[in-house]
Symmetry: C2
Subunit: 371 residues, 2 copies
């Protein structure tokens, strides 16, 4: 399998469980508030939503961490709530309170009005950002597109914002499962179109963030989250035309990653959903994950983001632990180094550099020692 | 094995994996704000801390749910932060913000000052509450004593209150593990004395709440949480003298339960810690839990507390699902029905009644159908 036009295809190869010279890495929320240059761009944008909605600025912040750190992938800078916003729910950010919706979806009338947006119309700014970033990257590393999962989007849509007990959406789940299934059906269609539009615009891999899957009970997770993630995966364009570098075109694979925070107990079921890779958080032992699913999907993760608050030397020690818990690379398995969740806004950038350098160095050594 | 003086020993028998006529049940936080009579007593006490610190009132609220519902155990009404409060950290409750400490433990000097309190002196009000409740129960159902785990207490002690990212305590963990180990060592000693004093005062079973164990990375959980829970378990008085009902005394077993929220991936390790039962949250499949550890420890759990927001009939359907996921009772295994976390303050009390009646009815039917 080849990934033409990419100067660094390590991430793509690992996703497809092909041999790599070292363990590729990127970090969830790598473009973010811990970087002073990000804060400067955000200040120019005026606010977070303007930043997401201005493709040139979204491109600028997407590329910032690549200029500082030896990262093997870029990820579209955007918000997971662009899709429900495009459905007309009225996304806004209350200062210090996180995202909110002006018109949450809580009754039959609101559910009946929901429809999947046309991604190139109502979220055109996202597709423009993908096109701009892809052009600006010039093949340096691959670009990851992403979306929230149908269930995770439904949490925000019903709760009207963040929640720590998910009382409203779970009341709907237990009392009116029919209503929730209707929302999830629309969301699955919307997420699939949204990701396919990102693929058309140039995204080289896509990731589905099921950030709140782990809030569900066993049984409910399968019926209300995984089932709809699977529906999305089934509708994805698995490959697309790319220039072959000799004036022609070639079909290349667009791999998918599913990340369910707190979903370690369901890892085998998630791995069987049709994705190419699963993201795992820091509660999962990587060796166990590899033993359970490593011959079927690649695994992405899973350092505790808080380990980045130690000294640079200690951070490197933690990176080594993560690589050792995965073990010696072997044919047919793939590991992508990442955190188990988004990087914290107070993280010292120098520690990120120490981390990524250690991942490169140690993972090369692992491969040499295994020869 | 006998539990003399108990009119209802179903809970004790299930903890020891002995046959029972039905599945015993109690609910975490069963005495609490969802009950109007609790709110009335709390109003009389003036505030939550006064309620905890007045044994007669703590007894009153402990017994309230037993008068409404067919519960098989009472649990001491108290707070998990009584121990660090007794260490001199200055517990207070900021309105609408949860518990806080005036003097959090964040540096060497603060750690050096920590010492395990004498439970009969500095938390005498807790032991008085246990004695009062035990007397008032008169053998109706057994009384469960409890404590936070050493790690969970350390989270509050270092953070100075609740946290959603545990940045302070995890920074200590990764940067100054020596300091955190010192805190945990003191906490393990303090928790063991505290639980032993509750056992001396009359607690018939004890539960360790590792509410924040699931926030730790694999590896860190074993070193910073489970290891210290094990130290506590090793120091517990496993049995104690009880009147035998014929004028003499008999030694009875005091079983222990360990509940790690979000700890499903570590279930086998927790079950091997020396406890008699493990609590599991709703993300764990009960049939899987039974297969993994059911021949060694009893299992307690695990309905999603939010399922109590459905209609009474739907709540009963969810109860049936939980019992069916555990499966047909058989010799040598034990299941205690509970929620997977504390009951929510907005729960309709009538649904709790519907739930507990369903657990009794269905679990009796399960036993009859298996004969």
């Amino acid at each position: 399998m080849h990934f033409p036009g990419l100067k660094n295809d390590t991430f793509m190869r690992a996703l497809m469980r092909l041999p790599t010279d070292y363990t590729p890495s990127w970090l969830m929320r790598q473009a973010g508030r811990y970087l002073p240059e990000y804060n400067a761009t955000r200040a120019r944008a005026g606010n977070f939503l303007n930043l997401c909605k201005t493709p040139e600025l979204a491109c600028e912040v997407t590329l910032q961490p690549l200029d500082r750190f030896p990262l093997d992938a870029a990820i579209l800078f955007s918000d997971i709530l662009t899709v429900p916003d495009a459905m007309g729910l009225g996304l806004y950010f209350a200062e210090g309170e996180g995202p909110k919706f002006e018109r949450p979806v809580r009754d039959e009338a609101a559910v009946a009005k929901l429809a999947a947006p046309d991604p190139e119309v109502e979220t055109r700014y996202v597709m423009d950002a993908v096109r701009t970033i892809r052009g600006a990257l010039g093949g340096r590393v691959p670009l990851i597109g992403f979306s929230g999962s149908p269930w995770t989007l439904a949490c925000y849509m019903v709760e009207g914002g963040g929640s720590d007990d998910f009382r409203r959406v779970k009341t709907m789940l237990y009392q009116r499962p029919d209503l929730l299934h209707s929302i999830l059906e629309v969301n699955a269609t919307a997420v699939a179109s949204y990701l396919n539009a990102q693929i058309d615009a140039g995204a080289q891999a896509v990731m589905i963030f099921d950030s709140w899957g782990g809030a569900l009970a066993d049984g409910a997770f399968q019926r209300f989250s995984l089932r709809y993630t699977q529906k999305v995966l089934k509708k994805l364009k698995l490959d697309r035309e790319e220039p072959d570098g000799q004036g022609g075109t070639v079909r290349v694979r667009v791999p998918s990653i599913v990340f369910t925070k707190g979903g370690g107990l369901w890892l085998e079921q998630i791995a069987a959903s049709g994705c190419d890779a699963v993201g795992v958080d820091w509660t999962m032992n990587l060796g166990t994950a590899r033993a359970l699913v490593g011959d079927r999907v690649a695994v992405q993760g899973n350092m505790d983001p808080m380990a980045l608050f130690a000294t640079p030397g200690q951070v490197q020690g933690e990176a080594l632990k993560v690589l050792e818990s995965w073990g010696i690379p072997s044919p047919g398995v793939g590991h992508i180094f990442n955190l188990g969740h988004g990087i914290n806004q107070f993280t010292p950038p120098d520690n990120v550099l120490a981390l990524l350098e250690a991942v490169h160095t140690y993972s090369k050594q692992q491969r040499q020692s295994s020869v």
